[in-house]
């Protein structure tokens, strides 16, 4: 499974979303429009990304960048993986 697929599976599992990975658009924003996640989802997601992929989202600026879309999140993880 490629990284983007892994990310989608993780998001659905952690946030218990009632959708399939295919329904998540690689370009759509994760917050606001798009998946419409909230700030508390963001906290849980950023912790899960740290634990699952070893890429820490240190602050809100990092989060804003990473959560712009699945594509951005995958790029962020590639870059910050330890």
């Amino acid at each position: 499974m490629d990284l983007k697929q892994q990310i989608k599976h993780m998001i659905i599992e952690r946030l218990r979303l009632k959708i399939t990975p295919e329904e998540i658009d690689d370009e759509a924003p994760l917050f606001g429009d798009g998946l419409a996640l909230d700030s508390i989802d963001a906290l849980e997601l950023s912790i899960a990304i740290d634990k699952t992929f070893g890429a820490e989202i240190k602050n809100e600026d990092d989060g804003r960048e990473a959560f712009r879309s699945i594509n951005h999140l995958a790029a962020y993880i590639e870059q910050h993986r330890t």
Binding site: L43, E44, I47, A48
Partner: protein, 243 residues
């Protein structure tokens, strides 16, 4: 053995109330890690109490030290199910004569230390969607005590911190509470003069100071699976000193 299979982390766990909590948790089946700052002798004594207790010197005022010590615990298969933050110090002095060092030392250890430990532990607990935290505060943080503006501020701050954290983490199933002991027989109360001790004891309706074991009983309940609905509270254990 209500804590069988659970991992507990106790900061300030090698003396006084922290040690009493560590011992009771170990007796109830938990694997207990006690962090201490400088009390190597206390650490040796505490480890000798039970094979389930291990101790480690970790300075909670240093965020990086807390982070790496916790990572070691998690990687060794001991993700923290129960956290008791009991690390605390006093530097009693009247405010008018207080030195910067006395202010900062107390706030750093008691309040910033709690921030460091809780921040990192909570990330684990949110991921696991379960966990119990008790922060050891003090009656001084509720009512104030002369000579303790620094200590009272740190403990009052810790109580408010605990309440806010409880609200943040309730949706993940975490229970977060504070316990505020009154006069308890520990190293901290031993710094009081005999006269002051007698004066304070005379005001306690139950007529005596409490023991670390009595505080430990309360903390154990709060962090046990028996507690399912108490969160965001500050429980005062003071022999009736405040009602």
């Amino acid at each position: 053995m209500i804590f069988k299979g659970k991992n507990a982390l106790i900061t300030g766990g090698t003396r006084g109330i922290g040690r009493a909590i560590a011992l009771k948790l170990a007796e109830e089946g938990a694997r207990v890690t006690c962090w201490y700052h400088a009390n190597a002798e206390g650490a040796r004594i505490t480890e000798a109490l039970s094979p389930s207790i291990t101790t480690e010197a970790v300075d909670v005022t240093r965020h990086d030290a807390v982070k790496s010590a916790l990572r070691r615990l998690t990687e060794n298969g001991c993700p923290v199910d129960v956290l008791v933050h009991a690390a605390g110090i006093t530097r009693d002095v009247l405010l008018a004569g207080m030195e910067d060092e006395q202010w900062h030392a107390v706030l750093d250890a008691n309040l910033t230390g709690a921030y460091h430990v809780c921040r990192e532990v909570v990330r684990e607990m949110i991921f696991q969607r379960s966990g119990r935290i008790v922060n050891l505060a003090s009656l001084s943080g509720v009512t104030g005590l002369p000579g303790q503006t620094n200590y009272a501020a740190s403990k009052g701050g810790l109580i408010a911190f605990t309440k806010a954290l409880a609200l943040e983490t309730a949706r993940y199933g975490l229970l977060v509470n504070a316990v505020s002991p009154g006069l308890i027989q520990t190293d901290i109360s031993n710094t009081l003069s005999e006269e002051r001790l007698q004066q304070m004891t005379a005001q306690i309706p139950l007529g005596r100071a409490g023991t670390p074991e009595e505080v430990a009983e309360l903390v154990l309940f709060l962090v046990s699976p028996r507690n399912t609905y108490i969160t965001g509270q500050n429980l005062i254990i003071s022999g009736g000193l405040t009602t």
